[in-house]
Amino acid sequence: MDRRRFLQLAATAGLGVVASPSELFGQYRVMAPVRVPNPLEAYPSREWERLYRDIYRHDRTFTFLCAPNDTHNCLLRGFVKNNVLVRIEPTYGYGKATDLSGNRASHRWDPRCCQKGLVLGRRLYGDRRVKGAFVRRGFKEWAERGFPRDPQTGRAPAELMKRGWDGFVRMPFPEAYALHARALDSIARFYSGEPGRRALLAQGYDPAMVAATEGSGVRTIKVRGGMAKLGVTRIVGTYRFGNMLALLDSHVRAVGPDKAAGASFWDSYSWHTDLPPGHPMVHGDQTSDFELFAAEHANLLLVWGMNWITTKMPDSHWMTEARLKGTKVVVVTVEYSATANKGDEVIVIRPGTDPAFALGLAQVIMKERRYDEAFVKRFTDLPRLVRLDTLTPLLAREVFPGHRDAPPNNWATVVKPGQAAPPTPLQNGIQIPEALREEFADFVVWDAGAGKPVAVRHGEVGEHFTRTGIDPALEGTFSVTLADGTTVQARPVFDLTRQYLDETLPPETTSKITWAPAEAIVALARDIASHGGKTLFAVGMGPNQFFNNDLKDRAIFLVAALTGSIGQMGGNVGSYAGNYRLSMFSGVPRYAAEDPFQPQLAADGPVAVKSYGRYESLHYYAAGEVIQREGQKQFTTGGHVPTPTKAIWLTNSNSQIANTKYHYNVVFNTLPRQECVAINEWWWSGSCEYADIVYGVDSWMELKYPDMTASNTNPFVQVFPRTPLRRNFGTVSDMDTYAGVAAALATITGDRRFRDYWKFVTDNRVEVYLQRIIDGSATVKGYDIRDLEALAAQGIPALMNTRTYPRTFAWEQVHESKPWYTKTGRLEFYRGEPEFIEAGENLIVYREPVDSTFYDPNVIVARAHPAIRPMTPEAYGFDRAKRDWSGRQGRNVVLTPEALLASQHPLLPGGYRSVFHTPKYRHGSHTTPIDTDIMSNFFGPFGDMYRRDKRSPHVGEAYLDLNPEDARALGVNDGDYVWVDGDPADTPFKGWQDPARAAEYHVARLLCRARYYPGTPRGIMRMWHNGYMATPGSVRGHESRPDGLAKNPDTNYQAFFRYGSHQSLTRSWLKPTHQTNSLVTRKHFGHEVTKGFQADVHCVTGAPREAMCRVLRAEAGGIGGAGVWRPVTLGLRPTNESPAMRVYLAGGYART
């Protein structure tokens, strides 16, 4: 008799109310001869408790550094039992970190870890570890056949380049190195000189790109260490390898060190669209930021397009604790985000309208005269006069006869030709090369006191400007007689900006464009102004991944500068996306660019530095190996032009091949043109699926050489300690792979310098390289790598020795009146270079998103304005009706706000009616480690460890978030599978319509779950960025495996999609203002300035968050496609609530 039946009988027998547990449980006594009088009081036999104490016990612990590209980096403690890593915990060592002067961080920094780090134990032993070196069959055959090529074009045989569809063979590492070296040597030789040039042209490469090789085949070899700061020797080593290839070039082309060319280097920070490209346009540096613990110094914290609590997880407490202590938190967002629930106020805007929103704030501040006049006059170019005829800023030498620009005398020096700037730790101020001296010319303001134009020098900022006694006019139109006697009209930047804002973006108009309620715009503007100097603008990746990102930066800086919230501990602008600022280790060139022709073999001898590499933006590759041209206009010129790509070596990077924007076009159309693709990985990623050579390398838990890293959001310098954990999978260090291929090149060429270049790797003394970097770095010079590693092994990092703690960008500029890295030395809100004037972006204007809009894409929104006079499409020689991917990018069309709102995106009539955006999520740092079972299970609402629905690609899966009303209108239920399509002209890849390419299209078209997500506005759809894409192998697995997993049966690659991916809809967009040859910026590694292209500082950024989509219902959400997803049927989902759920939501079960 079961117990329920017994109780029913007891009840009918009249027992009714049970008096005691003993009576109730009497029936069981025969099975349990133990009686516990009161289990609240005592329990008889507790020996069993040993069970959990045994589980908790461990044999030993060790420390390792977890460092995905999540911008944090955490020293973690691994617990080992029976030589197996059983669990991971934080070290609580951050509160013990000190600097060189004995200042110490507090334990408010502890604990540092996250869920993604704590599951690494399951990844360490996971079935996707790369267990050795693997070579693709077709590639192996190509090599064994002696690298045969098509006689006409020089192309490698297409049938041997079927990446993604081919299989792999395992090979001893030395053999793989030799194969790799032979391929590089063959490619370098074939593509050098005139024959190489002809082959590249025959293969259809743009002549400008071919010319950029300068005849060197080595230049077609591309290397990329993904987010190199995450391993200053291990990952930066990829670039060191590329620098070393100048040696190969010297053999191939028989040139000396003066003419030799190294490999081409791909960008990182800008490639990830983490670079805020408008920052250098305002202050000349890569990025303005503040360490996030500055939050508690702010009165007003504006969290803008930044999902702080999901992407800055270990630093989220600085925000919530600041709020606890009285900081007002306002969240500017495109949805009710995770961070929104930590806000005192939340303002929801239309995605990609951030520049308009910021300009709307500036309009209120200027109109109501709430700006900080002293700050504006002393630290910005807003008083600077602009000529209305040429739209160029007025220069003193144009106005004052015989004027000679004064030599820089405030924290700036001119570096004479032939001289070198001092080593970075000894640079005290901006280093201006003589060749750029002219750029830093004295400018002109209208002195309201004297009633005449006056010259202002580069260094006259802050107190230095106050001492001049000049009172510059901010408003008015002034007639200025030039030195040549002619008279021109000129107006201050402030005045031109004010006119644009007043006429185009008053609150009501801004509201119509941005969706933000007008009262919210006015209230926030006043709030910012009332907290002058104490407003922190924490700006995230959201708005940065739109095409108008530079305008967003310039506009937000304008708001901050107007209110003096720059350079203060609690008042500043910061951009937060990805990790960057490798130049915190400004001594890196002593390793990355050591001269390969004379490697220093003595540990502490002087190091000759010479960079032979050539940087380029990967966005041209992702766009299909093209540059930007339209009509007669070539937008991509000068240093921006990339070279053709023939060989690739990627380390620590899944973002270039697998998680690339425009993924399927890259793998199905572009990648087949490459001839050697090598990848270092410790986990078989989507990129490995498409590689020729995969080197299985150590995970962070198995590193056998120390390494070093840091973050832009916290003050720690962190060392990866070498660990005692044994290598279980036959892996090697990344460093061994460089040394291995270099040794093979030494064999091929007979030049031992290839081998010598990696001497301290083969000698197991990598700390020599690390110490060289430390000694050359302004922030850490004085540390000994041995001390740092010993501390790290105890879970303790060290502090960076920057000027302030928290490190606060522009603190010195504002507090010590030092110039920024701009031509005027001031924050600049006017760009007078020809490219900006041509683009209509000399003033900060609002452009619609390039794709994610319901309106005419990429148009400039403005009423007639004397300073907005862009080059029209017609002037460039193309029709303004050309609004495809290519035409849209350089299309300068001006619409009034009313005309904009009456216009239409060209794809709307075809049913592509929703914005599709792909932000980053809490349960993945990019793709790490979302396919680890526990993480997958928590990746949204569809996780199921038992996979009751065999359609599910894994124990969790990617999904599309839709506004429930949008979903209903499409006939889509919560939990259904849907097809999601982007621009049919060229996504998911160009040529998908060709029936011969049906197999590729089958893999590439996105199919995923749909979720009703009430936090997103109508017309805005979201999908997380972090999924592993479907590959030919995963699709084969999904369709052939009995378990239905989307898992490649040969490689174990596990996709997070049944078909397609979040990158099925995205493309790589190129913006003209990102490609100037005239912008002056600070160079990496020190205080030198440069002009034009600079990777990760001034180059294209891609706009990966932009796409319009069409959604079609594919399959029902119930298990196996039968009926509706179960939680919906139970009435527990948004907009499908049961009566009980409705009572619950209203708090109706408590009567009050």
């Binding site: 009081e41 507090s106 996250c114 869920q115 134990g121 606890l324 985000s337 506004n963 948004p1134």
Partner: protein
């Protein structure tokens, strides 16, 4: 049936065993205003205690987004619906507890979830109430809202699981109040699973016995806080011990926040279990919903939290969260710092209420380097 005093309800209630309080009660406080739903706690717990066969679906610790998140599916909606609308308009609870509402022949009102109810542990993540319009300006309390609710076993004073176990294999430890399920005696009848309204006991189909959160007693016995607490990067948790309500010590941070300041409130106190995990309510959520969840005193707790900036002792107690892996038995605020002490009054940690600012010399003479912020 014996009458026991439930301080959270301000009244006596029926419970099958005589009341006897442990020497000290394992307890935890969560500041929901700081929880980021990262699930680091969940993974810390999972990798330490339940990584094995039969435990795949099992999360002794979980974080769910309220109001649409639940693990298992709909757990609180279901039990609230069964219990019905109850009066909660007085500091002394006038409604029925789950013991009061037990059907004839049952110890407590409960239900047994279906296996599939555990399938989607993160359902509802970030789902808010309402429907977002095209553009919005939300102010406090948010007109459209969600928040994160982390949960472990409540180690209840009047534990339902314990009361319902026919084998009497669940007990409360006298020394620390941790409620344990004897793995060697349990026979997997799942009466505890049915009885626990929080659904924090799980059946293991592999071992055929039930399991639950053990309050990390192997750590706690050594003076360390639980795995979910020491891994909490939101620094939302503090775990320690609560004294009996008649022996409150204001120097104990948990006593101070629960009894003295009444800032941290129990989860669904109306169930009558006197649960021992306490929640600082989210300040942005409408009070009607919060009162249903945390009972009497929600508005006062929110007001207290909003004034913490001017209250150094309170701020100090809250700054102690996540500052140390050890259990803080006592705390003291002195100047700009808060200090935590162990059971023997020895200092275990000190942290500043505000992280001090450091301005370094521009030129470091000793190491010959300019220490700029930009480099």
């Amino acid at each position: 049936m014996p009458k026991v005093y439930n301080w959270q309800l301000g009244r006596e209630m029926d419970f099958p065993y005589e009341a006897t309080r442990p020497e000290r009660q394992f307890a935890m406080i969560f500041d929901t205003n700081k929880c980021i739903a990262c699930q680091t706690c969940t993974v810390a717990c999972k990798t330490t205690w339940t990584p094995g066969r039969g435990q795949e679906y099992m999360f002794w610790n979980n974080v769910e987004t309220k109001p649409y998140g639940y693990y298992p599916l709909g757990w609180d909606v279901k039990i609230l619906e069964k219990l019905g609308v109850q009066a909660m308009d007085d500091p002394v609870y006038q409604g029925k507890t789950l013991f009061d509402a037990a059907p004839a022949g049952e110890m407590i009102l409960g239900y047994l979830p279906e296996d599939v109810d555990y399938a989607h542990p993160n359902i509802g993540e970030d789902d808010s109430t309402g429907l977002m319009s095209q553009g919005a300006h939300l102010t406090l309390p948010h007109m459209q809202w969600m928040f994160y609710l982390p949960r472990i076993c409540n180690h209840c004073t009047y534990a339902a699981c314990l009361s319902a176990c026919p084998r009497q294999s669940i007990y409360k430890r006298k020394e620390d109040g941790i409620v344990l399920l004897d793995q060697s005696r349990c026979r997997g009848y799942r009466e505890c699973v049915r009885a626990c309204p929080y659904k924090k006991v799980y059946f293991n189909a592999q071992t055929r016995v039930s399991e639950k959160c053990i309050g990390c007693y192997p750590a706690v016995e050594g003076g360390r806080q639980t795995q979910c607490t020491t891994s909490c990067i939101g620094k939302i948790r503090i775990q320690g011990f609560l004294n009996a309500p008649d022996r409150v010590n204001p120097e104990n941070p948990l006593d101070y926040l629960v009894f003295v300041r009444k800032l941290a409130l129990p989860l669904y106190p109306q169930f009558g279990l006197e649960p021992n995990t306490y929640y600082i309510p989210p300040v942005h959520v409408p009070p009607a919903y919060l009162r249903q969840m945390f009972g009497w005193g929600v508005e006062a707790a929110i007001a207290t939290y909003r004034q913490a900036a001017e209250d150094r002792t309170l701020l100090g107690a809250l700054t102690l969260f996540g500052a140390t892996p050890e259990i803080a038995h006592y705390f003291r605020v002195d100047g700009d710092w808060v200090y935590g002490y162990d059971a023997k009054q020895a200092e275990i940690v000190r942290v500043p209420l505000k992280e001090p600012v450091v301005i370094r010399e521009l030129y470091d003479i000793k190491h010959k380097a300019y220490r700029t912020n930009i480099t």
